[in-house]
């Protein structure tokens, strides 16, 4: 994006609630923001270290439950529960990273899927802690000094700040020697080891950071919908994240953001345009076309186009 284009985008993002009056549209944008954090998080693993986690909803759900329980049972404030959720999810990421040290490719995928399955079962069956399938209602809205962030307009800015911070953190990370170590692991593991990159260390680090970001997104989700149930572990969430990252452009910084906005807005737009039978069909066809014509994703395709012109 050019400098002017970036300024316009920033201005749009900062003033959005003032001209997008409809609560419905604002809701779609807030969900896009939460998914943007999730897509950034998944991209660290999938795009940079090259490991596909198909259990990412587990970290999202752990963050959502941790934040809900900390505020409901222990009466922590949101501002303490948010980092708590990130830490709990990060711990789970560490566990998965350690477990998957020797596993790559399909085996890593299987471990992450199984982990998500187990955590989901725990959330359904550990009635005392999670209230089972009934879920946890009444998660408090965050408060900032005298203000409660219970309106969509206020929550929008909270999510916007989270997206901005996550993006900056990811950008700093991938443009550093740590990010280059992640990429080395993706590109050629033996060569990476031969020049001193401790591959296991960096795989665990990527898993922890990725999981912590997903946990933060989970916390934002819990305090936005004010209700957490085992649905947060749905496989659909993981699939949506993967679609966002792959379609947007994995291994790029802007790709997950573009993917998150596109694939939150698109289903809603299709819902408005057609009946529900056609909605999923059209979604599927669009997805196939996208993968077929832009296999590396939207952002890499755009930058290739710009280089040529």
């Amino acid at each position: 994006m050019t400098r002017a284009g970036r300024h316009v985008a920033a201005l749009l993002a900062l003033t959005l609630p003032f001209w997008l009056a409809s609560p419905y549209f604002l809701h779609v944008v807030i969900m896009a923001g939460i998914f943007a954090v999730l897509a950034l998080s998944l991209n660290l693993l999938l795009g940079y270290t090259g490991q596909l986690s198909l259990g990412h909803a587990a970290f999202f759900g752990i963050g959502a439950y941790t934040s809900a329980l900390l505020t409901l049972r222990l009466e922590w404030s949101f501002w303490a529960a948010l980092p708590g959720a990130a830490a709990a999810a990060g711990l789970a990421g560490w566990f998965i990273g350690r477990l998957a040290l020797k596993l790559r490719g399909a085996y890593f995928v299987l471990v992450t899927i199984s982990f998500a399955g187990v955590i989901s079962l725990v959330s359904i069956n550990w009635m005392d802690l999670t209230n089972g399938p009934l879920g946890l209602p009444g998660v408090p809205a965050p408060e900032l000094g005298p203000w409660s962030l219970r309106t969509k307009g206020a929550y929008y800015y909270l999510v916007l700040a989270a997206v901005g911070l996550s993006y900056l953190a990811c950008r700093r990370l991938v443009r550093s020697r740590i990010g280059r170590a992640f990429v080395a692991l993706r590109e050629n593991e033996s060569l990476a080891e031969s020049v001193g990159v401790d591959v296991t260390h960096y795989l665990v680090l990527a898993a922890v950071v990725s999981a912590a970001l997903a946990g933060m997104a989970g916390s934002l989700y819990a305090h936005y919908t004010r209700f957490v149930s085992p649905e947060v572990f749905l496989f659909t969430y993981t699939v949506t994240m993967v679609i966002m990252v792959v379609a947007g452009g994995k291994g790029t910084l802007a790709g997950p953001l573009v993917g998150a906005v596109l694939f939150t807005v698109l289903p809603e737009a299709l819902r408005a345009a057609t009946s529900w039978q056609w909605q999923m069909l059209a979604y599927g066809v669009l997805l196939v076309l996208l993968v077929f014509f832009l296999p590396r994703g939207i952002v890499p395709a755009l930058s290739a186009l710009r280089r040529r012109s």
Binding site: A169, R177, R180, A181, A192, E193, S194, V195, G196, L205
Partner: protein, 252 residues
């Protein structure tokens, strides 16, 4: 400095290395030669931690290397290249080398997230050092090209630059001249000499006898997983066991 003692590597019932012992003196170029299947690459893999030896010991400056991970061995200054070309395929030449500079940077997680001046200075320094290495191997004009799209010989030069990025005190090169044109081999021989003259030690596996005899201070001959001879290039060329091993293997 590098001492290999009674190294045995067995794959099932087959002994790829059958009690290999040798030493590499600091500041020299030592070549390991031998017919195909003699165990040269296996020895490299066992020394650099890619393959656990069945028995035996490798020490460097008196400290054992056996059992360490390759990255830990690299941190001790022992860096290897691979027989089959090994680059970071999707990255540009410059990014390949920058990635190889991992050990020359120090920024940790928190500094990467929050650092300012020092972090920036380090990035600038690393970018400059990467450029210098790219120039050193003569690929300045290829800096921005994607490594996997380069001709084979140039990919080997990228690999060499990546290895040098880890500041090896002992550099193990597995057939650095394979698949190169005569002029590229000349460049590589010159580089290997410069690496030694800069104070590093080089251990290489190579099939090109002209290259081996031209640059080596010491030559070690492996055959059937054992060391059958070792010494100065001239002595090796005249060694009856060596001549027999080579004639036997080529049928000529």
């Amino acid at each position: 400095m590098l001492a290999v003692r009674d190294l045995v590597v067995r794959f099932g019932g087959v002994a790829a290395l059958d009690g290999v012992s040798f030493e590499v003196r600091p500041g020299t170029i030592t070549s390991v030669i031998g017919p195909n299947g003699a165990g040269k690459t296996t020895a490299f893999n066992a020394i650099t931690g890619y393959l656990p030896p069945t028995r035996g010991e490798v020490t460097y400056d008196g400290a054992p290397l056996t059992g360490l991970r390759p990255s830990a061995i690299a941190r001790r200054g022992i860096v290897r290249t691979f027989q089959r070309t090994s680059v970071f395929p999707a990255l540009s030449v410059a990014d390949n080398v920058r990635t190889g500079l991992h050990l020359r940077g120090t920024a940790g997680f928190l500094e990467v997230l929050l650092g300012r001046r020092r972090l920036r200075d380090e990035e600038v320094r690393l970018a400059r050092e990467a450029d210098e290495l790219v120039e050193l191997v003569g690929l300045g004009h290829r800096r921005r090209e994607i490594a996997s799209e380069l001709p084979y010989g140039e990919q080997r030069l990228v690999e060499l630059a990546v290895a040098l990025g880890a500041r090896p005190r002992l550099l193990l090169l597995d057939e650095p001249g394979a698949g190169m044109t005569a002029s590229e081999k000349g460049v590589v021989s010159g580089l290997i000499r410069r690496i030694r003259d800069a104070g590093a030690t080089v251990l290489l596996v190579e099939h090109d006898m002209r290259m081996v005899m031209g640059i080596s201070d010491t030559v070690i001959v492996l055959n059937g997983g054992r060391v059958i001879a070792g010494g100065a290039p001239a002595a090796i060329q005249a060694h009856p066991d060596v001549i027999r091993a080579y004639l036997g293997s080529t049928g000529g």
